[in-house]
């Protein structure tokens, strides 16, 4: 905890607050006595691509849960675009604010076609009655077509999502996030279980996306993180252990200890 403070002193965080898209300060959460997050603080600037790494149990997924409103923190602030307090909102509100989340396990609507998956993710019309009387507009159709090409699934548009390969499901899920037109994308282990070529494609995809959106990627795979070529935050036991370029972080003795010393 004190180590985290050294790297990112409070004052610095606060001064940075003005121009952040995501601002996490002093967040702690406990599950039945287990401290999953311990005074976690970091921020992401608009348009930034950020990788978050850390060993198992470092609190990566819990952090995602808190940002997206699935879990409420015991203490701490989570601000979106320096003004909206995310800890007060639920998942749907947060999604509609413009934060998209991709799960660790690919989660798509298996009984729907690829096209319908994207249609459902398409921004706007979240109300019940709007959905009941919704008709597909040409603008929406064009948007879906565009995304189908971005995620390399144009060929599979009429296929049921259940019949896609693991990697394709991951892409579809990323595509669904794009359809939401988020300002911030949270991506949890996008390349888990992917082949090497798929991994490369995915890195390319994320880099493309990062040109338009702010993206936070949680990942184990060091090669993939290197491919992303971005700032890295290392989590350990619920706090930030180190932050910086990957090369720099990898030389940090504490990071080495956490990764190799056990």
């Amino acid at each position: 905890m004190s180590e985290a403070m050294d790297i990112k002193p409070d004052a610095q965080v606060k001064s940075a607050r003005a121009e952040t898209i995501l601002y996490v300060d002093g967040v702690s959460v406990t599950f039945d006595g287990f401290r999953a997050l311990n005074n976690l603080s970091f921020y992401v600037e608009p348009g930034e691509l950020r990788a978050i790494i850390g060993p198992n149990g470092a609190g990566k997924t819990t952090m995602m849960d808190i940002i997206t409103g699935k879990t409420r923190p015991d203490t701490g602030d989570v601000l979106f675009k320096s003004e909206t307090d995310l800890t007060k909102l639920d998942e749907a509100d947060i999604a509609n604010l413009g934060i998209g989340r991709k799960f660790q396990k690919p989660t798509v609507f298996e009984s729907h076609t690829v096209f319908d998956n994207l249609l459902l993710a398409c921004s706007g019309g979240r109300g019940v009655f709007k959905a009941l009387f919704h008709r597909l507009s040409s603008a929406e159709k064009i948007k879906i077509e565009k995304t189908l090409i971005t995620i390399m699934l144009d060929e599979k548009r009429d296929e049921l999502a259940a019949n896609l390969s693991h990697g394709q499901k991951q892409w579809l899920e990323i595509g669904m996030l794009l359809m939401q037109e988020p300002e911030l994308l949270l991506v949890d282990e996008p390349v888990a279980g992917m082949t090497d070529s798929e991994t490369e494609e995915t890195a390319k995809l994320l880099r493309t996306i990062a040109k338009e959106y702010s993206v936070v990627v949680v990942e184990h795979d060091m090669e993939f993180v290197r491919d992303l070529d971005c700032k890295v935050t290392v989590l350990h036991e619920g706090s930030v252990l180190a932050e910086g370029r990957l090369d720099h972080v990898q030389k940090d003795p504490r990071v080495i200890e956490v990764y190799l010393g056990r």
């Binding site: 997206t68 699935k70 639920d90 998942e91 749907a92 999604a95 509609n96 998209g100 989340r101 799960f103 989660t107 798509v108 609507f109 298996e110 009984s111 729907h112 096209f115 319908d116 249609l119 459902l120 993710a121 921004s123 019309g125 979240r126 109300g127 019940v128 959905a131 009941l132 009387f133 919704h134 008709r135 597909l136 159709k141 009429d158 049921l160 019949n163 669904m176 939401q180």
Partner: protein, 390 residues
């Protein structure tokens, strides 16, 4: 199935209805039945082999009400994954609303001859009509209540349950608790709904005697019409973007949430609509069977509805209708021929359908079958290997 511009820009209702093969068959049968069965009953002489006896007309009318009830369950279970084990409660509430109207229609023809109070209230030495019986002397009011009361209960119950994200078996168990609580409540004489005996000895509906063949035929036609209308409404819902959201909720609820949909509102909407349909089914059922009592709230009956849906084929709507007919015909058959075997059969059906026919009878017909057409064996093998905790 390839041209999306066509698929999504077609004139709404007629467009998807024409594409819905099972639905078209169902609606055709319903229209044919609504015309031919009453003719066969009222106009064809009894000596003719085409004559439809009145008992059969009533029986079919009863099945139609069950079919509507099954449809309402399929709408939430098949399309939204909400397994309600308390839908009998909405059915019974609709039935009681209609029963109250029919009670008031008896007027002074009851045993005690009280023009205001139903017999059971006179028997309990009540002197005044309870406030909640006001208005039930008007047919339109009873009909509105038959839909409003189940709808309101579903809305309140659903609001509480879905808002706090009670899902899966937990939801099933509390719906069961709900109908059980209502069962106990309606057994009480103090409730003012006739207690144990319920409401019965009805005389007439809108001035037409319930005993006459004409009235019965009219009720039969009404059942066909309402089943048809509710089918179209349900199909319309499932075809819309809302329907796609419902299916998405069934398959991956949290994904839907993170996509920005308020899952609880969607569930609440479809749950309430479904309860209203169940209420309508109950209201049509009571004049045709001539009685409504607390037994309709029994949790066991509510579970039975689910098996109608499962037998026919979950998530197809017309499958639910088919299932209701198959199971209830079997019930009529067994209770008539060998009553001891009915529970063996019903129990076996529950087991066999869940194990061997997860898509129901409809799923076994290739023309309506699942897109991946798995054989029973391979699907069982798949399930075995997928065995484990979800």
């Amino acid at each position: 199935m390839t041209d999306y511009s066509q698929k999504y820009q077609m004139t709404p209702v007629v467009g998807w209805l024409l594409k819905d093969r099972g639905g078209m068959i169902l609606l055709t049968i319903l229209i044919a039945a609504a015309i031919l069965v009453p003719i066969g009953n009222l106009l064809v002489p009894e000596t003719s082999s085409f004559h439809v006896p009145t008992w059969m007309l009533s029986l079919l009318g009863k099945y139609l009400c069950y079919a509507l009830l099954a449809l309402s369950v399929d709408l939430i279970w098949g399309f939204c994954g909400i397994l309600s084990l308390g839908h009998g409660a909405f059915f019974a509430l609709g039935g009681y609303a209609m029963g109250m109207y029919l009670m008031r229609q008896i007027g002074d023809r009851g045993v005690y001859g009280n023009p205001e109070l139903p017999d059971f209230m006179v028997f309990l030495n009540w002197t005044e009509l309870p406030w909640y019986w006001y208005g039930f002397d008007m047919f339109w009011f009873a009909i509105v209540m038959a839909m409003f009361v189940p709808g309101l209960l579903a809305f309140v119950f659903g609001f509480l349950a879905f808002r706090s994200r009670v899902t899966g078996v937990y939801l099933s168990i509390i719906t069961q608790a709900m109908t059980y609580a209502l069962l106990l409540a309606f057994f009480r004489n103090d409730m003012g709904f006739g207690g144990n005996n319920g409401l019965t000895d009805f005389k007439d509906l809108l001035g037409y005697s319930l005993q006459s063949d004409g009235t019965r035929a009219g009720l039969f036609v009404a059942s066909c019409v309402f089943l048809g209308i509710c089918y179209i409404v349900a199909r319309g819902i499932t075809q819309s973007r809302l329907g796609k959201v419902l299916i998405a909720i069934r398959d991956a609820e949290s994904r839907v949430r993170f996509t920005g949909y308020r899952v609880e509102y969607y569930k609440l909407f479809v749950f309430t609509i479904s309860a209203v349909m169940a209420g309508i089914a109950g209201a049509l059922y009571v004049p045709q069977v001539g009685i409504i009592n607390p037994g309709e709230f029994a949790p066991a009956l509510s579970i039975e509805i689910v098996i109608w849906v499962a037998v026919g084929g979950r998530g197809t709507l017309y499958g639910a209708v088919l299932g209701a007919f198959i199971v209830n015909y079997a019930k009529t058959f067994f209770t008539g021929v060998m009553p001891d075997f009915w529970l063996f059969f019903l129990g076996g059906l529950f087991i066999a359908v869940t194990l061997l026919l997860p898509k129901g009878v409809i799923g076994a017909v290739p023309a309506f079958g699942a897109p991946d057409r798995q054989s029973i064996l391979s699907s069982m093998r798949k399930r075995l290997s997928a065995g484990g905790k979800a």
